[in-house]
Structure formats: C-alpha cells, structure tokens
C-alpha cells in the first residue's frame, strides 16, 4: 500500500532559487540559510520518497486573473518550470505520477472536496524552490529524483481556503493515499511562508515569535493551529504570511503525533522569514 512517511514544511522564497541558480549560496548573506538545509538533503537522500505530494501556490504565473481555483491538483505527465518574467529557472522538468494523482483526485472529490483537475500546468518557484532545497542543484537535463503531484492553493485573492479546510483536505489526501494499492513511499510538502509582507508600506514585516509558536503548535497541537483565522495571519504575519495555510494541508495528512526530526528558522531571505520542518510519521 502507498503510505505517507513524512511531511516537510518549507518556505519557497524565489531568492533561494536565484541564489542556487547563481551559485552564490556560500556568500555570508546566504550561508546561514543553506546551512539549515544540509541536514535535510542528507535526510532526504536516506529517506527517498517515490512520490512527493507538493502543496504550493502559484504566484500569478500559471493562473492569471481569468481563473482562480481554490485547490488545483496537477494530473499531467509533466510540468514545465515557467517563465516568471526573467526566463524559466534552469531546473529539470517536473514529472508527475498520473495514476496516483487521478486516484487522489477521485477519492478526495467523492470525499466532498471540490478540486479543480489540471491536465496541463506550468509550475513556478512555489513548487521548484522546495524541490531545490531538498534535492540540491539539478540542471535542466537532470532528473529531480522523485515524481511529484502538485496541488496549487489560492492564497493570492482573498479569501484563501481556511486553515481548518486545508487541514481537513490533508486528512482526505491521507485517506486517498492509504487506499492506493501500490507500494509507494510518499512525502507531503507544505510550502510558503513564514511571516512576510511583500507589498506597500508595511513591506518587510517579520514576526519571529509568532512563527516559532506556529511551528510548535503545528507539530504538537494541530487542532489549535487549524483554528487560526485569516485576519490573524494577515495582521500578525503580513499579507503574504497567509501562505502558511498550506502547511496545514501537510500536517493534516500526517499522524496525530509526529516526530520533529529537523527545524530551521532564519531571517531574512530577501523579504521573508525562512521556516523549515521535517516531520516523521510513526505509522
């Protein structure tokens, strides 16, 4: 049977990708950011998944204003890294797992989650940066080393889905994966965050104390974390901190009790607080 063995939370700051693509990760500014990923890459090598279920948001790249899905699952054979305005990132094409993706889509829709199915989709830094964090440098001709099922969540136009809804979607994804007959090791990623505001006069807002509390709560008291409402995210963590609802999807797909095997927190990467967790299921 397929099983989810671990959940990974990870900011997806574009500048992290740029630092890797330019090979400047040893510079004093970036060194502490990447230091915290060393364990993760080693751990990932030792716990290789067959499939990554990757929850992220599109940043007005694949989706323009004409269509805004709350949850969009990628069921295509592959997903091309998008040009976000300065050429596509020099990283491999992302390969999907079509059968598992369709199985999850079907199961979750019958479980009364109203997904949008994407049979063609480009992917932006929201998806490729967390893969770069966990898999290290990969060039366009390379293989990422895993198959990926993308789930794009609307966090750009208010309202995003609630934290509670995201958490429950995670539970439904778990049920779907648990019922897939093939033996597959699946990791689930919740990406985005942590506190950051990219816009207007409050740009640069960081709330480190809130971020650390959130990580504690997410790990040990998810039933509390899923009650955080939109206004708290917006006020306390900046207008783009709302991305953290995506961490709840990941957490919902894990066991009630998990082991935190790694935590990394650093301010800043560009405008953003970088947060990162690796959680193992006991199952």
């Amino acid at each position: 049977m397929a099983r989810i063995t671990a959940g990974i939370a990870c900011s997806h700051v574009p500048a992290i990708g740029v630092a890797m693509d330019k090979g400047i990760t040893d510079e004093p500014y970036w060194q502490p950011v990447f230091k915290g990923f060393e364990f993760s890459r080693k751990w990932n090598e030792e716990n290789k998944p067959d499939v990554v279920f990757l929850v992220y948001n599109d940043h007005c790249t694949a989706f323009d204003s004409s269509i805004i899905p709350t949850f969009a699952i990628g069921c295509a054979a592959e997903f091309t890294p998008a040009d976000e305005g300065f050429g596509p990132r020099p990283v491999p094409v992302v390969k999907g797992h079509q059968k598992l993706a369709s199985h999850i889509a079907q199961s979750v829709i019958l479980d009364e989650f109203d997904l949008t199915i994407m049979n063609e989709m480009e992917v932006d830094h929201g998806l490729t940066v967390p893969l770069s964090v966990m898999y290290g440098d990969r060039k366009p001709g390379d293989d990422w080393g895993t198959l990926v099922i993308p789930l794009a969540v609307n966090v750009v136009q208010y309202p995003a889905p609630t934290a509670n809804r995201c958490y429950n979607l995670g539970k439904a994804i778990r049920r779907a994966i648990d019922s897939y007959p093939e033996d597959l090791n699946v990791h689930i990623y919740g990406t985005g965050g942590m506190s950051h505001q990219l816009q207007s006069e409050r740009a640069g807002l960081i709330n480190a104390e809130w971020d650390q509390n959130f990580m504690d709560m997410l790990v040990n008291e998810p039933d509390k974390a899923r009650q955080i409402d939109h206004i708290e995210f917006l006020r306390e963590t900046g207008s783009e901190g709302i991305e953290m609802v995506m961490w709840l999807v990941m957490r919902g797909a894990l066991d009630e009790k998990v082991t935190e095997v790694h935590r990394h927190y650093h301010v800043p990467a560009s405008n953003t607080a970088v947060g990162h967790l690796i959680l193992e299921n006991h199952g």
């Binding site: 990219l198 207007s200 301010v267 800043p268």
Partner: protein, 130 residues
C-alpha cells in the same frame, strides 16, 4: 457589501474581490510581461502594448510613473506588479524598499536586523499616533 475585518491593518492592501475587479486589466497587463514576446512588445511601444488591455487612464499613468503603491491602490496585486518591476530589472527586495519609502540600504539593513517589527504595526491606529 461585505464586512472587511482586515481594513484596519496599516500599510497593507488586502487583494479581495473588489480590488481584483478594479485591477483586472491592470493585472492582466502586468502578467502579459511574463512572456518574452510581450516584454518585447512593451519595450518597442509601451503605449501600444498597454492599449491592448482595458485599463483606466489612472492605471496607465501609474504604470508610466512606476508608482508602485498607486498601482496597488488601483487594484494591482503585488505578484502582478512585480512582473512590471522585473521588466525594469528591479529585484523584489528593492521594490519592497521603494514601496515602504526606504533607501535600498536602510531596507536591507532592517531585514538583516530581523525585519520590520510587528510591534506598532498591527493597527492603523498605531500608525496614526506616530
């Protein structure tokens, strides 16, 4: 028509349906710059490229002026307007500095020192007291 509990957050435009409706063509213009052929068209003839999108004159002027906060006020969303900034070769951190009326170095230093603090930045009333 709907209550907006987030209207009391200072220095922040929450991109809701009202803003999205107002900024629709502005944002569609900005996202067009995602593709090189449109960047080339905008480089070659800014007015001609802008005219392909049903923006208001105010929105067009804010594009011409690169008035980044005004673009947000007129319904732009940062993920769209940042594509116009990318077109100009402005990196995101410098854009954030401009929007918050800081020099590049001051903004960068603020971030390295832990970012803009949450204390005093939760409510509009806190800014008005300043």
């Amino acid at each position: 028509m709907t209550e907006k509990p987030y209207e009391d957050i200072p220095g922040t435009f929450v991109f809701d349906a009202d803003r999205s409706r107002e900024g629709y063509w502005l944002n569609q213009f900005c996202i067009s710059l995602r593709l090189e052929k449109n960047r080339q068209a905008f480089r070659d003839d800014p007015e001609a490229h802008m005219s392909r999108f049903a923006m208001s004159e105010e929105q067009k002027q804010a594009v011409r002026d690169r008035d980044w906060n005004r673009l947000l006020e007129l319904g732009g969303n940062i993920y769209y307007t940042s594509k116009l900034a990318a077109f100009d070769g402005i990196v995101f951190q410098d854009l954030a500095a401009m929007m918050s009326h800081m020099s590049r170095d001051d903004y960068r230093k603020m971030m390295v020192d832990g970012g803009r603090p949450i204390e005093g930045n939760r409510y509009k009333s806190e800014w008005e007291k300043k």
